[in-house]
């Protein structure tokens, strides 16, 4: 009996110690909102981010192991319009977008499509122009879950969940505050894929810092995206209009 009591006491003590250790770890982790606020400051601050109403980014993407390169034009406008155009060399072109109402994709290989379900949710989430400025409104649930090292940089890991269920874990440099990595399960019509992105080579464009290099790992392969230019000139609204073959799908 004594032995049982001793055993129980030890178990309770161990549990208590474990709980204390957990609390201590939680206390050492900064709140997610604080980390995100520091990130917004690090990339230019709210005032700077709020100055612009549109953005045109030109990037090059390569999959070196497969010998493939592509170029991309990304057009964005406040509050949530977006259009991308990719020239994929031998694979032809692929476009996609969101005009604030309809999300769509079109490629020379697969033809036009109107997005629904999880793909629509993701497109709506990523089309928000102020995504970086107001992360809390897009991801109402944010929690700091630990720290890790990415490409030699110590960073805070923050788990984020959007209103429509999109989940990701982003890691923010402990010193600079910049986002250095994201792990996310991405939805596509083909299925769910886990993707890890590592951001580096931050440079300033009109006072806003952006990672000019993103190394994406998925399905055992790597893709490197390199930003070539960023412009904040006004973009005509027609850029975001549905293409004729996507419109035809609405009939």
């Amino acid at each position: 009996m004594n032995r049982i009591r001793t055993g129980r006491a030890l178990a309770l003590a161990a549990l208590a110690l474990a709980a204390q250790a957990g609390t201590a770890r939680a206390q050492q982790l900064p709140p997610a909102q604080q980390i995100v606020d520091k990130y917004v400051q690090a990339i230019g601050g709210k005032a700077m981010l709020g100055r612009f109403n549109s953005r045109h980014t030109v990037a090059e993407m390569s999959m070196p192991a497969m010998g493939m390169t592509m170029t991309m034009d990304l057009y964005q406008a406040r509050p949530n319009k977006m259009m991308t155009r990719m020239d994929m060399g031998a694979m032809g072109t692929a476009t996609g977008g969101y005009d604030g109402t309809v999300a769509w994709s079109n490629s020379s290989m697969q033809g036009p499509r109107i997005l629904t379900g999880a793909e629509l949710n993701e497109t709506v989430t990523r089309s928000t122009f102020d995504a970086n400025l107001d992360m809390a409104s897009i991801f109402p649930t944010m929690e700091t879950v630990g720290s890790r090292t990415v490409a030699g940089q110590e960073c805070w890991d923050v788990r984020m969940t959007s209103r429509n269920g999109v989940q990701m874990r982003s890691c923010f440099d402990k010193t600079s505050g910049l986002m250095v990595a994201t792990v996310a399960k991405q939805q596509s019509q083909m299925g769910e894929m886990e993707v890890e992105m590592v951001y580096s080579d931050y440079k300033e464009f009109d006072g806003i810092k952006m990672p000019t290099k993103t190394t994406m790992s998925m399905m055992g392969q790597q893709m490197v995206t390199t930003i070539k230019s960023v412009s904040h000139e006004a973009i005509p609204d027609t850029t975001f209009a549905l293409p004729a073959d996507v419109k035809a799908l609405q009939h």
Binding site: T57, A59, M61, M63, P64, A65, M66, G67, M68, M72, L74, Q76, M82, T84, M86, M88, A90, M91, G92, A94, G96, S105, S107, S108, M109, Q110, G111, P112, R113, E122, T123, R126, A131, N132, M179, T182, A184, S188, Q189, M190, G191, E192, M193, E194, V195, M197, M210, P211, T214, M216, M218, M219, G220, M223, T225, A244, D245, A248, L249, H251
Partner: protein, 454 residues
């Protein structure tokens, strides 16, 4: 903005990865021997090849068993290789430990030769197959070098240059596992097709037996590669050919016939246009005989022209990811006008050189009850694969996933068995008949009759 770029990059990557070409084994010339390689580069090349497969091999039992042992046994030999040829032997030996198709090493110098089109880009404008123990001419392109020289389907190839058909068949006979009829057909086709290629503009002397078994010799002026010759990622430059025509049906009416040899993005516009132009016809024939595969993503994309509700052509299971080859019904034509997917009868023609993406297409649509398959059993080389450059410049083709059809059927090893067996015969070819095409057109005519009766 970071998020938008990431999502766009992801879409591109997914498309690229899914598009990476599962192609059946390619014809290749012998690599030059004796090129020296440093011990460090040899080891790095072996390690990269081994690790690429170890990272992506979906079958963890094979990855943890034979593949681990292959590294333990062969890595020391790779590090001792002093020539590129010695290293290739070691890597190829490792690849043989894997019980699947689509694991192949393409020598870098072959890539360059084929890519530059320096010595192998020209072709004779005819197709050959192993039929009844003979290498027969099964198809002659109208307007091509063979047609210009008067070569006819059904003739027997007895020698190409100084190489006799008997020598080719003997060489094929020495390949391990070639007793399996489809493999024998595939390797014979590879050997004969390679022999029938050369520098564009050069002349190839080919000896035939004509329809009466009389020896005849023809000089074929090899033509330049097709305009659609395409370089896709790390794959060799491919001579992509697409032809379309209308064929009369027995008893009246017509069917559209589409024939192409690779599933490459360059054929997409032509395929879409063909479907548009054949939309009002009584049926369509998709001739995939000799189509070795290509970009996997094109199979469900093309299937969308023939399926009126979203479905899947199959499932690609990788180590940690499962991707569905989703068929999106094509509801818009090439002029951006609303249309319904084609609802008439669709026949698919296959043979032992119908491989990979072609097997996804033929087998998947048949499982969905949308097409009827005519001809011969397919190659059974049906795994999605990537082409990855190695440190020494060679390219490693390696399967990265298992593939099952919409109802769970696998074609790897088994192939797609036609609904109607219609192999070519010499008599039929000499009589100007194509048994598989004939059977397909007769079926479409019967379906037309049934539709009319309804």
């Amino acid at each position: 903005m970071t998020r938008s770029i990431r999502r766009t990059a992801l879409a591109a990557a997914a498309l690229a990865l899914a598009a990476q070409a599962p192609l059946a084994a390619q014809t290749r010339p012998a690599a030059p021997r004796g090129t020296p390689i440093t011990a460090a580069l040899a080891a790095e090349t072996f390690d990269t090849a081994w690790a690429s497969i170890d990272r992506t091999l979906w079958d963890t039992a094979v990855a943890n068993g034979p593949w681990r042992r292959a590294r333990e046994e062969l890595r020391p030999r790779a590090a001792q290789a002093r020539t590129v040829a010695q290293l290739r032997v070691v890597i190829e030996e490792a690849l043989k430990r894997l019980p699947y198709s689509h694991f192949d090493l393409i020598p870098g110098d072959v890539q360059q030769d084929i890519g530059a089109g320096e010595d192998r880009g020209g072709d004779a404008g005819m197709e050959v197959r192993l039929v009844g123990g003979r290498i027969l001419v099964t198809h002659v392109d109208s307007g091509g070098p063979a047609a210009a020289a008067g070569v006819r389907p059904g003739w027997t190839v007895s020698a190409v240059g100084t190489r006799t058909a008997a020598q080719m068949l003997a060489a094929v006979g020495r390949i391990p596992g070639v007793g399996e009829p489809r493999k024998r057909q595939l390797f014979t086709w590879m050997a004969a097709s390679a022999a029938l290629r050369g520098a564009p503009g050069s002349t190839l002397r080919v000896r035939f037996l004509d329809g009466a078994d009389r020896p005849v010799t023809r000089a074929l002026a090899l033509r330049a590669p097709a305009a659609m010759s395409e370089k896709f990622g790390n794959l060799p430059r491919l001579d992509v050919r697409l032809s379309t025509r209308r064929a009369a049906l027995p008893g009246g009416g017509a069917a559209g016939v589409v024939r192409f040899n690779y599933w490459m993005p360059v054929v997409v516009a032509g395929l879409n246009a063909a479907v548009d132009s054949f939309r009002s016809l009584d049926g369509m024939v998709i001739d995939l005989r000799g189509n070795l595969g290509g970009a996997g993503i094109l199979a469900p994309a093309f299937a969308g022209h023939f399926v009126d509700r979203a479905d899947t052509l199959g499932v690609m299971r990788m180590r940690a990811t499962t991707l569905n080859f989703v068929i999106n019904p094509r509801r818009v034509d090439t002029r951006a006008q609303p249309v319904r997917p084609y609802a008439g009868p669709v026949a698919v023609l296959t043979d032992a050189m119908t491989a990979s993406t072609s097997e996804f297409f033929a087998g998947g649509l048949r499982q969905l009850g949308r097409v009827r398959v005519f001809g011969e059993p397919t190659a059974g080389q049906a795994l999605p694969a990537w082409a990855q450059k190695l440190p020494n410049g060679d390219v490693l083709m390696h399967a990265v996933a298992d593939f099952t059809g919409p109802r769970g059927m696998r074609w790897e090893g088994e192939g797609v068995t036609p609904d109607v067996a219609a192999p070519p015969t010499r008599a039929a070819l000499l009589a100007g008949r194509d048994p598989a095409m004939q059977a397909a057109l007769e079926w479409i005519a019967r379906e037309r009759g049934r539709a009319g009766a309804r």
